[in-house]
Symmetry: C2
Subunit: 609 residues, 2 copies
């Protein structure tokens, strides 16, 4: 118990809730890494797609990044609006539920849950990949490192969100500073063969197909994943939560936009061609600052930000799943909050699923990224569409200019994000996007079944008529006994006190000892309500005949209740456990799966000797 | 359940016992591999020790091997005698117990149990090492391979001994044939620079210290480990078991002696110098037959025989531990025989301990061998000393010549084997023999504590006075309830039928809902024997307040019995489990560790919907 407190911190009372919430600075450290870390691969994903169409095509990184930043502006504005309307969090799921109905909200919710899981897997493996790029000799450890990091994140988050915010503030802000500095320096230093200013705005002659552009846009838009996190986790912020959350989202948008656009522009300026060996950020750092301290520090901080990007999911998943569990779409266990006021089951399930994914995909990020963006963009589409629809319905109560702005922005945003979903699904279908197309419907189906189950159970258990009262039942207790000793006498006493009938069950391997025991029993002559049953066995195990006998008793008298009482010796030292109770343990396990028979475990304390 | 039967075979009845026993041919395949496989390293161990004193010293392999074979003759004769006297098995432990008393028998028994465990670890890793010698690229997999083989052996032995005998007969007899053929061919082919005949009997001039000789003798005597196995496992043979066991032991002695002596002689004839890369057997095979099919087949068969040598332990350990458990020196669980008439707990514990050893020693056999021989030789010493003492005591009833033969042989044998124990302990103390010197006393101490515990418990539970009868107790049942519904009504009904008092325990997080519930309860007005207790909590979890409340109830009324009744929803599908019962499960676990309170699990079957 003490070790538990050391690892997870002391139990918190309900009224301490406010103390574990965060402000804007810490909130950004928890909620932003997911989005910010996208800078580590966003530009790179665009360049990889464009590079396939030739080096000349790399220019298109500029307009594509510009469109993505425009989309970012739409998203930030929309989600700030959503936070205002839904201060309880839940983002796309909640606004979808209220505006478009349960199907849309389930798609958004399920997609986000999938996405949070993928984020953990993608981020951590990408972080490890960044380290491996700097120290290639670590390559064989990729999977193990990744799994360990996920486990560590899980543990920290079981302590609480505030704790993880404090732990991760430094790398977050360091990453922001280093990328921004690199962008500024990269724009200002002299570069041989740097493109002239007009080249930034004039497309090169080479023809690039719309398909390549769309594909590059879809890939690059993974840079915006994580922007939704704050809207889901509004309750994480200290009051007034919505105001703090909106402020944090605004800051996030500013940082993310400038870092992403800056990276794309200097990547073009430095003629960066994507490579298999190093990341675009590393190429830039090495071109601008050389392969020195800045390079290695940036590599390290990138790893850190990628790994703690996963932490954003640990903030989002448990909250969203608890909100969905409250609506009965998810198992009730996601509703229970542990000692540290954390929805601990969400944290645990998230960590385990992510570890499973990492192991299945063998730590290869690129295989996971197609899966990753689709879910977020589905939720983006639903959120923005909901916002547009909601504003349209409410347009009477809102100033016309503001409502039209929101409707147009929601509509254009929904269209752009829907394009990303469709293009990603089509182009990356065989690369793994099919998994989303399979898992998402299955998950939604499962959620429907969960809700149906809960409703059916609730209907069955509901009592409206208060005239239904507890009644007396006829109870038969079975007590397996080996010999007449203090333990069996005490067990029989308990059984006699509880039940209407008691059967002392004695299993024998041959006839003679059975007769001997029956005679001894007769001589002993306990209370006549206790009947002796001597059962033969052809096997060594007494478990099988006991289970069979009790089943028979229960089956023959369906109107009565059958109870098996298993004594358990309580010993003074832990090691002494291994000397006893093998039978009770086996019987307990057997009966817990029988489902018709109640099992009672009766501790019997031995005197110290 | 079906899969279980597929893997482990159908359950066997008690009267089928005879059908699972083995004859001489199959018995040799189970019982001999341990001893026979020693040929794979016995000669080599001698050569390694002698080589330290210079190449000239290698000659001493001949007289040392001769002494070891003499010792083998003593051992086979003695153990055949022991089998005759103790047809129930148990070997050194049993004869030690009857002749020298419990301390000697415990030393022999504990030493053998340690040894069986070490045998599994040593044999399997040595087998894997033999394969790795042939295919060096497998080196990094040594530990994993070894663990898998131990796991496989455990599974086969859970099916039964006969099964493993059938599986392992081929490699055993193939190994015997191949080594004997190699010895014969090796003695007859022309070898350039072969030593002249007189050189086999004349010591070379070089002086070799007695210490080196003793050390080489001790190391080489590891070749005899495993000879005791048959005496421990006599009941494994079909009736008349002792006759079959004695025959098997005689055959084992003949094969082992000729193979070991043959290997040592041709090793001298071929001027084999021990090497780190290959084994002596492999060097001989490659010198005599070239690096062809014979070499690879022998390497493979050596691996097989080494791995299945471990199987001998799987025959010995469970039997010996069951015999010692019957004498209350070991936990009772070693007495229980499973569906396949196997002492399955012995098999499982043996496999797990061996796997632990392999992992700790990282699959390096040589580190384990010093530990390995000491235990067997302790049991040899005790067995032969017991035989001498027993014969001396019984000399009136035995023909004088036979009794003197047994006494002298027992005495000399005990001295020789004691020398091995002492020399091994001294020379290999720092290399790991200290572990035996630490573990053996601890194990014996543990066995004494186990017996003391069993006796104390038996004394405490024993009832001689049959006037002690079951009596009626006052029982208070606590039922945690969340709301008034069919489930809680049924649970309360059950509680009311069982107990004298029932407390319905309702946990609330704030005052108001508690009052509401109390009012609803008042309106409902169930049986007055059911009292409602509303308990506030400052934490989310209801587990803590429930445990605290029940503890309080139990503490305040020490003369009455307290029972907590936990309902468990029985659902139609497995996945639905995850939607319920979280609370019952947690409470069950909490209370099973409380030790003062009985826990009853009441299944509540939901209607299908």
């Amino acid at each position: 118990m003490k070790l538990w407190s050391k690892v997870f911190g002391r139990p918190l009372k309900d009224r301490e809730e406010e103390s574990i919430r965060v402000g804007v600075i810490a909130g950004l450290a928890v909620m932003a890494p997911d989005a910010l870390s996208s800078v580590a691969y966003g530009t790179q994903e665009i360049l990889i797609e464009l590079d396939r169409a030739g080096v000349q095509a790399l220019w298109y990184v500029l307009p594509i990044s510009a469109v993505i930043v425009l989309l970012l502006i739409f998203l930030v504005t929309s989600y700030r609006q959503i936070i205002r309307s839904y201060p309880g969090g839940g983002g796309a799921y909640i606004i979808g539920r209220d505006t478009l109905g349960s199907t849309a909200s389930l798609i958004a919710g399920a997609a986000l849950l999938i996405d949070y899981t993928l984020t953990v897997a993608v981020s951590v493996t990408a972080g490890v990949a960044a380290v491996v790029a700097a120290f290639p000799e670590l390559a064989p450890w990729t999977v193990i490192f990744s799994v360990l990091i996920v486990g560590f994140l899980g543990l920290v988050n079981l302590r609480g969100l505030r704790e993880s915010a404090q732990a991760f503030a430094l790398p977050t802000y360091l990453f922001i500073a280093m990328v921004l500095i690199m962008a500024v320096v990269g724009l200002s230093v002299h570069v041989p063969h740097a493109p002239a200013w007009h080249m930034y705005v004039t497309p090169p002659v080479s023809f690039v197909s719309l398909f390549v552009i769309l594909r590059a846009f879809s890939s690059g838009s993974s840079a915006l994943t994580g922007v939704e996190a704050i809207s889901n986790g509004v309750p994480v912020f200290r009051g007034p939560s919505p105001a703090r959350a909106r402020m944090t989202l605004l800051l996030l948008g500013l940082f993310l936009g400038s870092m992403f656009l800056g990276t794309s522009i200097i990547a073009y300026r430095f003629h960066i061609v994507p490579s298999l060996d190093t990341t675009v950020l590393q190429q830039l750092a090495s071109d601008i600052f050389g392969r020195g301290i800045y390079f290695y520090l940036l590599s390290f901080v990138t790893m850190a930000i990628l790994a703690i990007a996963a932490n954003t999911s640990f903030a989002g998943f448990p909250l969203l799943s608890s909100i969905m569990a409250r609506d009965q779409w998810m198992p009730r266990m996601f509703l229970s909050r542990g000692d540290r006021l954390v929805y601990q089951n969400g944290v645990i399930i998230l960590a385990l699923t992510a570890i499973l994914l990492i192991v299945i995909f063998r730590g290869n990020t690129t295989n996971l990224i197609p899966l990753y963006a689709i879910g977020v963009y589905m939720s983006f589409t639903i959120a923005m569409l909901s916002l547009a629809v909601k504003t349209w319905r409410n347009r009477a109560n809102i100033p016309a200019r503001q409502s039209w702005l929101l409707i147009v922005m929601g509509g254009v945003g929904a269209t752009l994000t829907a394009i990303v979903v469709v293009v990603s699904l089509i182009t990356k279908f065989t690369e793994g996007a099919w998994i989303v197309a399979v898992v998402l419907p299955l998950l939604i189906l499962g959620m429907h079944r969960i809700r149906r189950h809960y409703r059916a159970v609730a209907d069955e258990l509901r009592v409206t008529d208060l005239s239904i009262k507890p009644v007396l039942l006829h109870v038969v207790a079975v007590v397996p006994i080996n010999s007449i000793n203090r333990l069996s006498i005490d067990t029989l006493s308990y059984a006699l006190s509880l039940a209407d009938e008691v059967i002392a069950l004695h299993v024998v391997r041959s006839v003679e000892p059975g007769q001997q025991f029956a005679e001894r029993w007769k001589k002993w002559a306990p209370d006549p309500r206790i009947k002796l049953a001597v059962v033969p066995t052809q096997y060594r195990s007494v478990v099988r005949p006991i289970v069979r006998y009790v089943d028979l008793v229960a089956h023959q008298n369906p109107e009565q209740r059958t109870l098996i009482i298993l004594p358990e010796l309580v010993v003074s030292h832990v090691w002494e456990h291994f000397l006893h109770n093998q039978l009770s343990l086996t019987l307990e396990t057997s009966f817990i799966f029988r489902k018709d028979i109640s099992v009672m475990i009766m501790p019997y304390r031995l005197k110290s000797y």
